[in-house]
């Protein structure tokens, strides 16, 4: 009988430095191809045996049939190890876990606004590229992405090289402070979202970033006339099992690993404020 706690071994075939503290890892099965299929917004448990195991969002789109990608910020035990690793190294992967963004129902046919801060782009990138590959199923797309500096913008090459040239995609980049060589917007994401004056009609918002960014962006969106039922986010809490059994990632009666990580804000309102 299959046991979800037992992972697959995968080969890290490519490591791309994104920012001073974020790298993207391409993972393939030893026989080539993907270890498993997933939906946009789902996560996987990555591990280096002997070091640790952690839940990381799958940043590649399910429409990518060749490999999976994970963008990882260096901030702890496992992530330090991953950052010091060389291409060709194996790691273990299990999943996919959690409920994805509702790309097949609630989001279908809608205009989409993606709001991301820093490494928060990683889970949204999966949706963004899924939407690019299924362009006819969705309306107008706006992407608001901010970081501390230009160097901290994850996936900058892809954003500039591909997203900006996708029909009906508007990309709005911003950085926290003025910087030499940057002639784009300067300022924090929450204010930028308000300045952009988005219209709520037939539109859904997908937001992911530091808690403080989410906290201040939400009231701005409400002011613009958005309802909480139009706004989705993805949560991060400590996890060990990924299947709602080890007991640590709950917010009230919901387990982020299996009932989330994607929540609509009206659903989050039903839960105690403990995240």
């Amino acid at each position: 009988m299959e046991e979800t706690l037992i992972p697959y071994a995968g080969i890290v075939t490519k490591i791309t430095g994104q920012t001073p503290d974020v790298k993207t890892f391409r993972v393939e099965a030893p026989e080539g191809g993907k270890l498993f299929e997933h939906e946009p917004g789902q996560c996987a448990m990555l591990s280096v045996p002997g070091i640790s195991e952690a839940m990381i969002s799958i940043t590649s789109s399910p429409t990518n049939k060749a490999f999976m990608e994970f963008s990882v910020k260096k901030c702890g035990c496992l992530t330090d190890w991953l950052h010091s690793m060389e291409e060709g190294q194996m790691i273990t992967v299990r999943g996919p876990y959690g409920r994805p963004f509702p790309v097949h129902d609630e989001l279908k046919g809608k205009n989409l606004i993606f709001v991301a801060g820093g490494i928060g782009l990683a889970p949204l990138r999966s949706v963004i590229n899924f939407v690019r590959d299924n362009r006819a199923d969705y309306g107008h797309v706006d992407i608001v992405y901010g970081s501390r500096s230009k160097d901290d913008l994850v996936n900058y090459d892809e954003i500039v090289g591909e997203w900006m040239h996708t029909p009906d995609f508007n990309v709005h980049l911003t950085i926290d402070r003025e910087q030499e060589g940057w002639d784009g917007h300067v300022g924090f994401v929450p204010n930028y979202v308000k300045e952009l004056d988005f219209k709520p009609e037939n539109t859904c918002v997908l937001i992911c970033g530091p808690p403080i960014m989410i906290k201040f962006t939400l009231p701005g969106l409400i002011e613009l006339g958005f309802d909480k039922t139009q706004i989705f986010t993805t949560m991060e809490l400590r996890m060990k099992c990924g299947i709602g059994k080890c007991g640590r990632c709950n917010i009230g009666n919901k387990y982020v690993c299996k009932d989330g990580p994607v929540f609509r804000f009206d659903q989050l309102d039903e839960l105690p404020d403990e995240y």
Binding site: E3, L5, I6, E86, I91, L237, C246, G247, Y275
Partner: protein, 342 residues
């Protein structure tokens, strides 16, 4: 129903132990009974409930999950799972038997925990109706009948022996295997024993404890109650309550370098510990108040929310006896019910 005469109890144990491993409560010399593997000369303790709960049999304190061989850049994942051997646990109380239902809800729900399922499939549970409940017992609060416990086989102590009733196929198979020791009987003696037990249960100090004020759908009402502060104030965060609890099911997964490879194991964990939810970017439960609240909200609200009203407590009373600061779920329930409970 089947009957075993008093003098044949040891023969029954010997007959079972010949087929498969048999565990039963045995006095450990410190005034407590613990589940011990039966061998010739082992004396079954009918005293108080065991110090450790029976969950250890299906969800052991620590167990190996898998191994990894690491060579250069290569990792081999080795599935070390093995079919468990059959075993019997004899003398499980109604509370611990009910805790298996709760653990089943967690571990047998899709995706199934195959480690747990393996043990569950191979274990036969023989429950013993309570003849001597303790002052800390309150299983009745959660609708558990100590005079008629669940399990594969239920056993009652009657005046001149034991009466056994098979409740499941596994139980029938066990009784069939020892049929030579048993005779047929009716349920008269059982009813008399049950009446006696129920008379004791009604007199227990916590007999009137009700679930009023806690349960399904009450997160909003209970989460911000100011009483959590005073209730949790003295909590040491030692985790003893979670370790003696038959329904606490949280676990940690860790790796151990054996020198020949990496062993991945899991062990019990506790929501009472400060690093339980700690992440690189912060901790959603920084204070002991939040951790304390989590434990009781889980048992009294969140678990019922997700399991058709079933509470995550079986009233075994172990945490009442063991908490170093004498805090416990009963005090929490009484406080939350705002004087509704006496």
């Amino acid at each position: 129903m089947k009957k075993l005469s008093l003098a044949k109890l040891n023969d029954l144990f010997a007959a079972i132990a010949q087929r498969e491993a048999l565990y039963l409560p045995v006095d450990n010399g410190t005034g407590k009974a613990e589940y011990t593997k039966w061998q010739e000369g082992t004396v079954y303790s009918t005293a108080l409930n065991t110090g450790r709960s029976a969950k250890d049999f299906f969800f052991p304190q620590t167990e190996n999950l898998m191994e990894f061989k690491m060579e250069g850049k290569r990792i081999d994942v080795i599935d070390t799972r093995e079919e468990c051997e059959d075993f019997v646990i004899f003398g499980v109380r109604a509370c611990d038997a009910a805790s298996f239902d709760i653990l089943d809800r967690v571990y047998l729900t899709d995706p199934v925990d195959t480690y747990y399922k393996n043990r569950r499939q191979h274990g036969t549970v023989v429950t013993m109706a309570c003849g001597r409940p303790a002052e800390t017992c309150f299983c009745g609060t959660f609708g558990i009948d100590a005079a008629d416990p669940k399990g594969d086989v239920t056993c009652w102590t009657v005046e001149d022996g034991y009466v056994l009733r098979a409740n499941t196929e596994k139980g029938e198979a066990l009784l069939a295997a020892v049929d030579g020791l048993l005779t047929d009987t009716d349920d008269k003696a059982v009813q008399a024993a049950q009446e006696k037990t129920r008379a004791i249960l009604a007199k227990l100090p916590l007999a009137a404890l009700s679930t009023e004020g806690v349960g399904q759908g009450l997160t909003k009402e209970l989460f911000d109650r100011p009483e959590w502060a005073s209730l949790s104030e003295a909590c040491l965060g030692c985790g003893t309550c979670t370790f003696v609890c038959p329904t606490c099911q949280c676990y940690d997964i860790r790796d151990f370098d054996t020198g020949h490879g990496i062993q991945r194991f899991r062990c019990w964990d506790s929501c009472m510990y400060s690093d339980f939810t700690k992440m690189a970017h912060g901790n959603p439960r920084v204070s002991q108040l939040e951790r304390f609240r989590q434990r009781f909200m889980h048992k009294l609200v969140y678990f019922p929310d997700n399991n058709d009203g079933l509470f995550g407590c079986v009233g075994c009373g172990r945490c009442l006896a063991r908490c170093p600061i004498s805090m416990n779920i009963v005090k929490v329930m009484k406080t939350l019910a705002k004087g509704g409970n006496k």
